[in-house]
Symmetry: C2
Subunit: 390 residues, 2 copies
């Protein structure tokens, strides 16, 4: 039923507690849904209301706190004892009069940690300014610490089972990308292509069912390729359009992302040139990646490769990926960019996506990779080229 053995969840919890202990934290409030899933197995689309795990340094299990109607989801999907599932009544939901973190403060008082060192995920989508404001007003003697990315950083090296799940996600994204490239043609509506892509992402393979990726297909065409995060329209594709397809396969919340670029009709010379530069840069970078290298050293390989072409890439060229929920499939820890001194270790997983966006068009060609004992391996096996649809 659970995605992992209970012992794996407990191992993860102990690793988090080690960091808490080093940093003087008595309590950690985990509001990031991916971090909640990582430690407890909890999996439901209930993160649009406030919910969290309370990790007490001195307790064997975290406490799940969420909305009353979601308590059965916690019973079904987590390894926690029912006594560790503590729901709040429905009148706390989206009310301007009472707040779920009033309820959280009550639990912390019951646990006698209201004056303790309490760490929170300060920069997270699911820990609003109001959550922190409420805690500060309720627990005036507590010391609050910032634990943004604490659990995320524990997640950065994957277990073998996690890698297996990411490879299943990779098989799914290979299918979905092929479906998308095959379907794109002059006169076909963008939404109809994306409908087919989605079907492939969710049905998955005959062996593994697909889960919803944390980001929808990013599939701009024409001038809209000058920026990476536009989705799709209801308009038909036109002859001469470039189309960027960035999407992920997802298996039990683990992601394998991939991007490719398609030309409808003959590619102009500038797009052919840009594709060559990006492919060469990708190949040279992947050939060099290995354990012991830092993230900024990876970026430097890329940068040196494209230097001769005259193209400039200001933004990061990749980030760690794995377990995730909307709105981001990245782990928000290591980035492949100048200044990031994270050292690569075996079973770290990244999305290497050196996209280039110019004034009127852009190009993306990416690979998700796993750091191995001696180098790296890409999760997917998919032609690394500019696709041309005649």
């Amino acid at each position: 039923m659970h995605a992992f053995e209970i012992s794996e969840y407990q191992y993860r919890l102990n690793r988090v507690k080690e960091v808490m202990s080093e940093r003087g934290m008595d309590v950690l409030l985990v509001s990031d849904p991916a971090n909640m899933n990582y430690l407890s197995g909890y999996d439901g689309w209930s993160f649009y209301v406030h919910q969290l795990l309370i990790v007490l340094l001195e307790a064997d299990q975290p406490i799940w706190v969420g909305r009353h109607m979601d308590a059965n989801a916690a019973k079904i999907t987590t390894w926690l004892d029912p006594s560790h599932i503590v729901p709040y009544p429905d009148d706390y939901v989206q009310s301007l009069k009472k707040h779920p973190y009033d309820f959280v403060a009550d639990i912390l008082r019951e646990e006698k940690v209201e004056n303790a060192c309490i760490a929170v995920e300060l920069d997270n989508y699911y820990f609003s300014a109001k959550c922190f404001d409420t805690l500060n007003k309720q627990l005036t003697k507590a010391t609050f610490l910032d634990a943004t990315s604490l659990v995320n950083k524990v997640r950065i090296v994957k277990s073998d089972t996690e890698i297996t799940y990411m490879k299943r996600a990779a098989a799914i994204v290979e299918n979905a990308m092929k479906v998308g490239i095959d379907a794109i043609a002059e006169g076909v509506r963008e939404c109809d292509v994306v409908g087919q892509v989605y079907e492939a992402q969710i049905s998955g393979t005959t062996e593994f069912g697909g889960d919803y990726p944390a980001i929808v297909p990013l599939i701009p065409s024409g001038e809209r390729t000058s920026t990476p995060h536009l989705t799709w329209t209801e308009q038909p594709y036109k002859e001469g359009d470039p189309v960027i397809i960035e999407l992920a396969g997802c298996y039990r919340r683990y992601h394998a992302p991939m991007a490719r670029t398609v030309m409808i009709g003959d590619p102009p010379q500038n797009i052919k040139d840009l594709a060559e530069v990006v492919i060469e840069g990708l190949n040279e970078t992947l050939a060099r990646i290995g354990p012991g290298m830092t993230c900024e050293e990876v970026e430097a390989v890329w940068n040196k490769s494209i230097e001769k072409s005259g193209f400039i890439k200001e933004s990061r060229i990749g980030y760690s990926v794995g377990l995730s929920y909307p709105p981001d499939w990245g782990e928000r820890t290591a980035s492949l960019r100048k200044g990031d001194k994270t050292v690569l270790q075996p079973n770290m997983t990244f999305h290497l996506i050196p996209g280039i966006w110019l004034d009127n068009y852009g190009m993306e060609l990416s690979e998700a990779f796993r750091v191995t004992d001696k180098g790296c391996e890409t999760l997917t096996n998919f032609p690394r080229q500019l696709f041309v649809k005649d």
Copy 2:
């Protein structure tokens, strides 16, 4: 190109400014992606990094602030002059050293409002505790006010064009629901049904292309129907399973949600009874809804209807819907529950979803409705029944 006339965006902005003025706000920082879209037209999946609109009471246009690579998306999708699009460099992204709200503070100083009354959306997914902490440290002489739901409340009464979009979304959800009910059968994998549902949601109709709904299909089966927010598995459906399908159609970010329940095989008496109670309650409630009623009066009609059955429903029975981004398609303003005294007005739109979740199974049957001059009309026209698959 834009979803609405520029005059409609300007009208919305002026209505927001009226409220700002009444509440003594000089500046409003709008970080909710739906509110950003409502005021500027901005539409991209870039909300996984910090971005916002700065609304200055004294300026004709808001300022869009976001990541450098998303500036072209702002140029393409908003009605703002390029001078009002102010991107931050990529090294602000997911860094523990510098924060995008440091950049925001710089803009506020340039605009000479660093000591003014600055309102923020305090309880929003996209305004983290760290955002507020950063602003407080940067702008020590500002007065901060809470503007949670300020723009959302301006959004609550829809224009005729917005209603048109919601009706297109409704046509899409009717299709998608039919596809889902048709596909569910003993032995079929849940993920394969959802793949087909997604295809219908995104392809849309021959006239209107689908956009991604803010919530994925919530489609639990068997015991998993005892809670509303589970998604799907890769397991095949079994004879005797109830299946809840809750999903939305989406057109240009406007939503029409709907829920139905399906039985695989003969429904047991308890499920038949529960369906009857819910359908009768829905029918009686819809017959009574009209302008001038309060949200809590709507809930009271429902409550009186089911009282005789012995079933109890603790949670709210609905909420306002419309324009939205993940993770929620609700507007987070009015809820159909005790204590909510919001008065219904023509062109308010709600999702009436009186779900009941018991220990081992649950039931959902819902309708999205628009308040009319004299009563209400449902957005969809879909059989209001328990579906039985033999």
